[in-house]
Subunit: 338 residues, 2 copies
């Protein structure tokens, strides 16, 4: 079963690289990506456009990397030219980047970022280039990520996003360059040791007891996704994203994200003056059994988020928009039909 | 729900200490116990009676502890006097010990070991004593562990053992002394940071996305266990252990474990000359749908193991013994009725 799951995941990751499945949540997968490829003191450029970008930087820092943060205003995407500039100013071992930033509802242009990073990849001279380490927790399986074609060295996802499975599994794809880095990397690792996971996978096993029930879930979900075909799955998410944004704007609400980079898996919406986002969320859940996510970090109270990935339908989104409209009216802020 | 689960777990752990639930398997819980309380260079006495004791030592070593191993022959229990001797010969920051060693089917006399450790506890003088860090992954919830009364500083368990829930959650109890050590401990930690978990628990949350489906399972299982009462649960496991050992011996088979310390959750059995343990296991599974565990490490091929914990009944054990008898006959090694 683990072989079948792995191979179907590799299809969605668009990779021939090794892919390991860990019993942990997405943040544990991010930690695995860092500690398996880096050593204390390594210079790391951490690109951040929100709280998950901050988290990636924090992990690298805690394990002793020399982290330079390149932060962009929340609600905007990372600018590949700024990444180019930072990379030319210093010599970095790795770049950490979030593909889809759940906290703000932005999808970075990962292909363009990868292109910028690889311009500075000295691998053509020395055989050991800048590692591109990607948090694709909330994008993989819902939108195209071309691991091999874009040259992504480490790519992380998590079971509870597009895969439609409860939380508890993280997947990490490792390129040949990542394995070479791993052989030199001295950050300590035991539970998250990917070389050990690779060794056990040869026998269809995991080094530690796996979350068996979630593997069964992944097997079933991937069968469904494979039947639909990945292009159909990606198209479905494009439609979910568009439908949500169109509905929200028709209600006269403002998107938090720069719409050119708006995510197709999550939409962050600003609440109008006089409406407290968490009160709105409570009422929507109480009256309609629809759970909206809260604004993270500095956005708490001013933003709510609509998830539209995985096991989701056009009707789910319609129902959510209707629930919002009714609740705005109840709060004394009537809005047009979304 | 997390509050209710935590409080029912504290009852089984017999502790008023903080208890944190992590999305990881038992080995991740063991790593959390080490990295939250120790610093590189700390002298650690790692008591090992099998492969899980070896694993605990390995974790501490990988994270830079100065590990002295005190190993006992597989199939025997740790001798508290030997621990006393080792502790008097040097100054240790912590002792790592396995309560129930799954690989050999031995339960250490943890009360006696704790007594030996605390004789060398300088806390009565300096306020900071030897930390006693316990792997109770496969005992907690099935046999008595008196966390507070025995003075256990860090105690780890895992959802898939006596708790009857699929794998994927580890629980870690931390004493006040363990928290004080934690404040000084410099081993790096992010995903397994227990102080962060404690902070989020105050709000009924976890720092990272939890394995939600397994939390629902724990909630249901603990309701059942609380209804039975922990004394009844422990007595049931005493009977399972006795029934299994009596049956195995009546078939003329030899227990691997020193019977004075034989575990009530798992029984390791030596195969007689001429019977390959893994062939036996395959046939038992194929013909009777009964899964026996393989011998771990150096025991592979000569030992099989019967698990009898959690969701288990007298009839399950009878059926297993019958399946074994039929399979021994099929292999040309008839044995008496067990």
């Amino acid at each position: 079963m683990i072989g079948r799951i792995t191979s179907r995941l590799q299809d969605f990751f668009a990779t021939k690289n090794d892919l390991l499945i860990l019993t942990t949540s997405g943040s544990g997968g991010m930690e695995a990506a860092v500690v398996n490829t880096l050593s204390p003191g390594d210079k790391v450029l951490a690109v951040s456009i929100g709280s998950f970008g901050d988290r990636f930087a924090e992990i690298a820092k805690i394990y002793g990397a020399d982290v330079q943060k390149l932060s962009f205003e929340w609600g905007t995407a990372a600018d590949p030219d700024e990444i180019r500039k930072a990379l030319s100013a210093d010599s970095f071992k790795a770049v950490l980047v979030t593909h889809n930033e759940t906290s703000t509802g932005i999808t970075n242009d990962l292909a363009a970022i990868a292109k910028a990073v690889h311009e500075f990849d000295p691998s053509t001279r020395s055989g050991q280039g800048v590692l591109l380490i990607v948090d694709a927790v909330s994008s993989m399986g819902s939108m195209p990520v071309e691991t091999d074609a874009w040259g992504l060295d480490v790519v992380v996802s998590g079971s509870q996003k597009g895969w439609m499975v409860p939380p508890g599994l993280a997947m990490v794809a490792m390129s040949q360059k990542a394995w070479e880095a791993s052989a030199q990397a001295t950050m300590p690792r035991f539970y998250f040791d990917l070389a050990r996971a690779k060794d056990f996978l040869k026998r269809g096993q995991t080094p530690w007891t796996p979350a068996v029930s979630l593997f069964y879930g992944m097997d079933m979900a991937l069968e469904t996704l494979a039947r639909d075909g990945k292009e159909a799955v990606f198209e479905r998410h494009r439609q979910f994203g568009q439908q949500t944004r169109d509905g929200v704007k028709a209600m006269g609400l403002r998107l938090f994200a720069d719409e050119r980079y708006a995510s197709n898996t999550v939409t962050a919406v600003r609440t109008p003056d006089g409406v407290e986002a968490n009160q709105l969320r409570r009422l929507v859940q109480q009256d309609f059994n629809v759970v909206l996510a809260e604004g993270q970090g500095k956005l708490a109270g001013n933003v709510f988020r609509i998830g539209h990935l995985g096991y989701c339908s056009e009707k789910d989104i319609d129902d959510t928009l209707l629930a919002l409209r009714e609740t705005f009216a109840k709060l004394g802020h009537p809005v047009p039909i979304g």
